[in-house]
Amino acid sequence: MYTPDEMMTVTAARSMRDGMTCFVGIGLPSEAANLARRTHAPELVLIYESGAVGAKPDHVPLSIGDGVLAETADAVVSVPEIFNYWLQPGRIDVGFLGAAQLDRYGNINTTMIGGDYARPAVRLPGSGGAPEIAAACREVVVVLRQSRRTFAERLDFVTSVGFGAGADSRQQLGLSGAGPTLVITDLGVLRPDRDSHELVLTGIYPGISVDQVRDSTGWELAVSPDVTELAPPSPAELAALRRLLASAPAIPTATVPTAGGAAS
């Protein structure tokens, strides 16, 4: 047996190709990237916005600035350098982001929910590195749990741009990367439509129905006619993931979703 979170993390890890360069946020993205490095992608290049380029941690770090990242990295650079020399020119293959809320075009909110900006009902951590990761990585993968609250019809704040208003919004805004080509949740995976760039459900996990995913989406969900069931975690993947998490610092249950992002 496995949990929905384990299925989500394994799916995220599977999406990483060996040898690719990967800008990793903390939390689930970091767990998935480190799992990939222990399974099918030993040469995955992990880049943390703290300036650790090619980090090879032996456990999942709690923060993006844990000592183990600097000690195992191929290079450690300053924060202006990681953004200006490494991220901005489009050198990084994929950026892995978390989100508190996502809309149908893969735009991300990690700033505030409810009320107005100056006095929000819920204040989230904010943007961190995510806006530029979302803009400049060649591709972006977003990982978050799916519910009507997290998959929102309308965002109170656009922290990081996915496909903007859809269609050719990214080109109009001058964003160089391809945007969120994959969204991984605890129910299944979504990919953008080729033309409208609206997210479409393309894969579901074993035991999950399409109606269940629809009910967990705050807008009328587009579903691919070819929606497929994804393979459950293999015993080897599960064992590697559990070994990895056993080595990680335990995190207390937070009352609000953390921005994740590539945030610290």
Partner: protein, 295 residues
């Protein structure tokens, strides 16, 4: 030339009510002891600048030191919310907190512009986000050569930069290594600066990847072993991840936070603890350094 003094004297001399203060250190080398000294000296109406406010600014905000926060990501890394920050923004406790919010890349570039003596930096960023609408100091700019629309962010020029480093020599040259964040830019962008260090040594041995801030770029140096805790100084201390996790509970409740502040910050000035020990240690090294400089 940097003056080697006690931390209390350094903060007294540099941080005044109403100042704009940047305490930098990206997860690593966060100047917590200096932040506590600012709280103890009861500074008010500060504009606090920092890429990731982290626990240190949660404490300063909860202690009532801040009027405004200039930042990029206000969370407890890997743990969750900064509850004192949220309480200030959502409920104006203990004071309303004005926000000037940027991305990390924007903050980093603003420090670079300040350090470079330029009024702004140019980058690709912010386009299509809601940030620009809520944040002064972000504007479209067209490339004079190609006409491409880029983003300008205004320079940061704080009154004071406060950082922590592994070590300094007796002349006040500062050396740090590991994750180096934006501290060099913060010091060079600011009018005044304070550097706390793990130790003061006779000679700075070369260290791979080290950043050196020559003594004449630094205002004050104070020895403060363990002064980054619960952050860390690579090669000297480890990040206290358990404290970061514990902070979630300590900071969630106002009364518990106030009690923590009383016990661990206000009372720490008069009881034994890292701060007092550090200051005692500095008195002698500081005197030695001044004697050395006089020769």
């Amino acid at each position: 030339m940097a003056e080697i003094v006690t931390l209390a004297d350094a903060i007294e001399a540099t941080v005044h009510d109403g100042d704009t203060v940047a305490m930098e250190g990206f997860t690593h080398l966060i100047p917590h002891a200096a932040g506590h000294e600012v709280i103890r000296q009861r500074r008010r109406d500060l504009t606090l600048v920092r890429m990731t406010p982290d626990i240190i600014y949660d404490q300063l905000i909860g202690a009532g030191c801040a009027r405004k926060l200039v930042f990029g990501w206000a969370g407890n890394p890997g743990v969750g919310s900064l509850h004192r920050f949220r309480d200030a923004v959502e409920n104006a406790w203990p004071n309303p907190l004005e926000l000037e919010e940027h991305s990390h890349a924007g903050m980093a570039n603003r420090f670079v512009a300040g350090a470079s003596g330029l009024p702004f930096a140019v980058m690709r960023g912010y386009r299509g986000t809601s940030l620009a609408a809520h944040t002064a100091g972000v504007a479209d700019i067209s490339c004079p050569f190609t006409g491409e629309i880029l983003t300008a962010v205004s320079a940061l020029r704080p009154d004071v930069a406060v950082i922590h480093a592994q070590r300094a020599d007796r002349r006040g040259n500062v050396q740090y290594w590991g994750i180096s964040g934006v501290q060099k830019e913060a010091v060079l962008a600011s009018a005044r600066s304070v550097v706390t260090v793990e130790e003061i040594v006779d000679t700075l041995a070369p260290q791979p990847g080290a950043v050196v801030l020559p003594s004449w770029t630094v205002g004050f140096v104070a020895a403060m072993p363990g002064g980054a805790h619960p952050s860390y100084a690579l090669g000297y201390t480890e990040r206290d991840n358990d404290f970061y996790k514990a902070w979630d509970e300590i900071s969630r409740d106002r009364q518990r936070f106030v009690a923590w502040l009383d016990e661990h910050v206000y009372a720490a000035a008069t009881t034994t603890g890292p701060a007092t020990t550090g200051r005692a240690a500095v008195a002698s090294t500081g005197a030695a350094a001044r004697a050395g400089a006089a020769c």
